[in-house]
């Protein structure tokens, strides 16, 4: 598992050269997730069929497809979130940097600490202040060092482009922020524990265009340090902010290619029909 460098303290878009790669030994194209023949069932209903995909490190990978195609299920399989629901079952292998995430004896909580997640609707903890919301993951991990907490607080709020807006009232409740700010607060909360990967499940679906634009801009900066996987309903969004795009349909991975290629000259007729808006 690569060592995380400290979060950059400068605000605004940092130049790519200024950020050290997570691990000097690995090139940017080394796969973060290596998934092969992965299937998943909810009870007796099969939601994913034999998915095989490699998700690159320090890239933004978008997952698109019509409702019910299994894209959210796949995203949740990447940090074992689906296990929260009883009656799910999986088959196949899913590795993160070579380590099997479904290896017996590996606690799902441990996996989720390394693979952070942001949800469709912002969900800050309503009884906690902005500061507490950002730091709650670290406190859970038993970190008490005040200097470190302060550093992570500022670092992750800067990373999520929220620092300048909230630095003067960190003790206000997290839910007092606007919708877009709340979503960025949730991103800061996920980043504070320094995960290897950030999963985003339609993070902009409840936001207005301006707030969406800010989050998309933020995703561009995040990929300099993190591997980002984003599920989106919005094909323009996938085209705007991802490097590679995977198209899911009926629980199967239909096509996976560089975003530009997938949107301009898709190999599969189903993909073409979807990205040209003929169904979905």
């Amino acid at each position: 598992m690569p060592e995380n460098s400290t979060l950059p303290i400068e605000s605004g878009p940092a130049p790519a050269e200024a950020i050290k790669p997570q691990s000097p030994g690995q090139t940017a194209d080394a796969p973060a997730f290596d998934v092969s023949n992965f299937s998943l069932w909810y009870g007796t209903r099969q939601a994913l069929h034999d998915v095989t995909i490699q998700i690159s490190k320090n890239r933004v990978t978008a997952i698109i497809g019509p409702s019910g195609c299994g894209k959210s299920t796949f995203l949740r399989a990447l940090n074992r979130m689906h296990e929260v629901m009883p009656g799910t079952r999986m088959q196949g292998s899913l590795k993160l940097f070579g380590e099997d995430l479904y290896r017996p004896g590996l606690d799902a909580a441990e996996v989720r600490r390394r693979v952070g997640m942001v949800f469709q609707k912002s969900n800050p903890f309503p009884t906690m202040s902005i500061r507490e919301n950002v730091l709650v993951g670290l406190k859970l991990n038993g970190i008490r060092d005040r200097a470190l907490l302060q550093e992570r607080l500022e670092g992750s709020l800067r990373m999520s482009a929220l620092w300048d807006e909230v630095k003067d009232h960190l003790n206000r409740p997290g839910v007092s922020l606007s919708g877009g700010q709340q979503q960025r607060l949730c991103i800061a909360r996920a980043l504070a524990v320094e995960p290897d990967v950030l999963l985003m499940d339609e993070p902009c679906s409840a936001l207005d265009p301006l707030a969406t634009a800010r989050i998309e801009e933020l995703i561009q900066q995040l990929r300099l340090r993190y591997t980002v996987v984003i599920v989106t309903h919005n094909m323009q969004q996938a085209a705007r902010c991802s490097d590679r795009t995977a198209f899911f349909y009926l629980g199967r991975l239909i096509e996976y290619a560089d975003t530009r290629v997938l949107f301009t000259s898709p190999a599969n007729p189903q993909t073409e029909a979807y990205v040209s808006g003929r169904f979905g």
Binding site: P86, A109, G116, F119, N123, P124, T127, V136, R189
Partner: protein, 321 residues
């Protein structure tokens, strides 16, 4: 013709008919609601009228006077207020953790198959008549407390004033324990509803940070629901204050104020139920009425607080979270 000058069609006649039905139903419902309000007001008024003798004689000092002596016609409410509050407090201290833990188990942990049976059993507990609990208290609970729990408390925590002094069996603590059993169902079922109303998104947020099951309950469920659970506890307190029969049977019925929980006590509800038939003088009867007014006042205040807490809870859960 209707007021707008259009000819009256069958459809508009039907609409007129349903408007009448609407109006009648509205009046009927209003009447029912007003009857309830009227009843509460009437009860309050009757209690007030019944106690004017005692009010005139003792004034506000009635609440602070600790002697209750029917022979010399001197009456004070303090031992009963004390007994009511202390036994209810004991009941809450026992029932709230137990009820909230049960509710958490039922919503967050228990396998589907056993949830419904446990819920049914808890609801049955609420249906057991008070006097049955009292009988069980006299013949089962009190002997066990007297022979086992109380001596043990006495020897381990006897340095505290609460657990010192002679042991009779019938006691404030026994009363509190009985009340705890009786308010457990309401606290459990209200807490369960509150905990069920915590959005799943909150739980997922905690899970996604790598929380264990217990941490999810602590940071996502309990912190979100704590105000509602407080409301559930206050609702339980409302029940505990008015509980009469079972308490009368185990609390010892002695109007004394003692720090020791092993000592007998007396509650407002118990003294009214016990002494109504033997109230020979007018002043005695009037003093009992005034105790009733005090009890009504305490219960109303507690229930209003509970409703307010529950309301602000549901208000916050539909807000922007």
């Amino acid at each position: 013709m209707d007021p707008l000058g259009r000819p009256r069609s069958p459809a508009s006649q039907a609409a007129r008919g349903s408007r009448w039905a609407d109006r009648n139903f509205y009046l009927l419902a209003l009447l029912a609601a007003l009857t309830i309000l009227g009843l509460i007001a009437l009860v309050g008024w009757e209690l007030y009228r019944g106690c004017h003798l005692a009010l005139a004689k003792f004034g506000p000092a009635f609440l602070a006077n600790s002697s209750w002596d029917p022979v010399s016609d001197v009456y004070g409410a303090l031992p009963f207020i004390f007994g009511t509050l202390v036994s209810s407090l004991i009941a809450l201290i026992i029932a709230v953790p137990l009820g909230v833990a049960t509710a958490l188990f039922l919503t967050e942990m228990a396998p589907q198959a056993i949830r419904q049976p446990v819920i049914t059993v808890i609801e049955m507990l609420a249906a057991v008549p008070s006097v049955i609990f009292g009988l069980w208290g006299i013949f089962v609970l009190i002997p066990w407390l007297r022979d086992h729990l109380f001596p043990w408390l006495h020897s381990t925590l006897g340095f505290l004033p609460f657990f010192s002094g002679p042991i009779y069996g019938v006691s404030m603590l026994a009363g509190g324990i009985i009340v705890a059993i009786m308010i457990l169902p309401i606290i459990t079922s209200v807490s369960r509803e509150i905990i069920r109303s915590v959005p799943n998104l909150q739980r997922e947020a905690a899970y996604a940070l790598g929380s264990t099951h217990w941490e999810v309950i602590r940071i996502a469920v309990l912190s979100y629901a704590h105000r509602g659970i407080f409301g559930a506890a206050v609702l339980g307190l409302g029940r505990a204050l008015g509980e009469t029969m079972a308490v009368t049977m185990v609390i010892g019925n002695r109007p004394e104020i003692s720090a020791s929980l092993f000592a007998p006590g007396y509650t407002l509800a118990s003294v009214i139920a016990n002494e109504f038939t033997e109230a020979t003088s007018d002043l005695y009867l009037s003093a009992l009425f005034e105790l009733g007014l005090v009890l009504l006042g305490i219960t109303l205040i507690v229930n209003v607080i509970a409703q307010l807490m529950l309301r602000t809870f549901s208000g916050s859960s539909t807000g922007k979270t």
